[in-house]
Amino acid sequence: MMEIIKVGMADLNVTCYPNALTTLGLGSCVGVCIYDTKIKIIGMIHIMLPYSWGVKNNTNPAKFADTGIPLLIEKMEELGASKKNMVAKLVGGAQMFEVTRSEFMNIGKRNVEAAKKVLQDQNISIVAEDTGGNYGRTIIFYSEDGRIEIKTIGKGTKTI
């Protein structure tokens, strides 16, 4: 029986077929979804911030793109996935409020950029993305084929 496993904010998880991973109400955070195209192992991380350096209390690696994504890959490898077969999809990175000041104005965009940079450094290609905008997203990531169902309020549902 398929189980849908929740990934919280600043959290990550991995699973294999037939299970799915979900994270609810992604706003400025980014859901990085990685899957092994040969074997049905998937991993998801819900990152809040781009980089851990310069941040006090950076003890939770899953909070940041730079420390979280490599950790996610490691966890997938422990399950038997292989990095050379991994591809990624990105969802989220919205700008919920038009903030006029501070470096936080583009935190969503900065999260997306950081996730892309880290994935590039890891030699993992991004095959699909649904990022930006000013609305929240709930995602379900299926191990069966790596598809992601994206639900929004008032903007319908789509699959990438």
Partner: protein
Amino acid sequence: MNLSNSEINEMYLDVLKELGNIGAGNAVSALAMMIGRKINMKVPVVKMVKLQEVPEILGGAEIPVVGILLNVEGDIEGFIMFVMSQASAHLLVNMLMGTALNGYSEFTDIEKSALMEIGNILAGAYLTALSSLTGFKMIQSVPQLAEDMAGAILSFPAIQFGETGDTALYIETEIFEESSRIVADFFLIPTIESYQKMLRVLGVA
């Protein structure tokens, strides 16, 4: 002081509770004056929540909520944010505009500006309380409103707090008007520097 909100001690929480209390008291008086009716308030609940739990605060990450955000500038810089359920937001609007609640429909532009005005008044009252306690000058910006999933709206304060630690300061204010119950969550999010400044003046840091 090496600021991390996971190291917040009891004394610090007490000060924040008191601030929340005075601020909310001020805000409720202002609101009562605006709608010309008596409003009661519960003592605000002030607590630290784990970041992972933030999206669940309002009863689930996917619950549609209304968020009102204001910038704060001056001696103290940061943000003020109010979050409430759609039902609470409707009750507030109805109180303000004297209309009856006939089920949920989308907020009209006038209702949205009414909500933003409420945000303005509440923020102003909080800041006035804070200002008279600390002597700091604080100026609030024009409010912004967003309606979306609780998780998405709350990711804003969560990310701000995420820079300093793994927990968020959360103040829940509950106000009553006869049979109506409105619950508003309130986040005061000063920059790290402003946080330290404020605590120093309050004699905590």
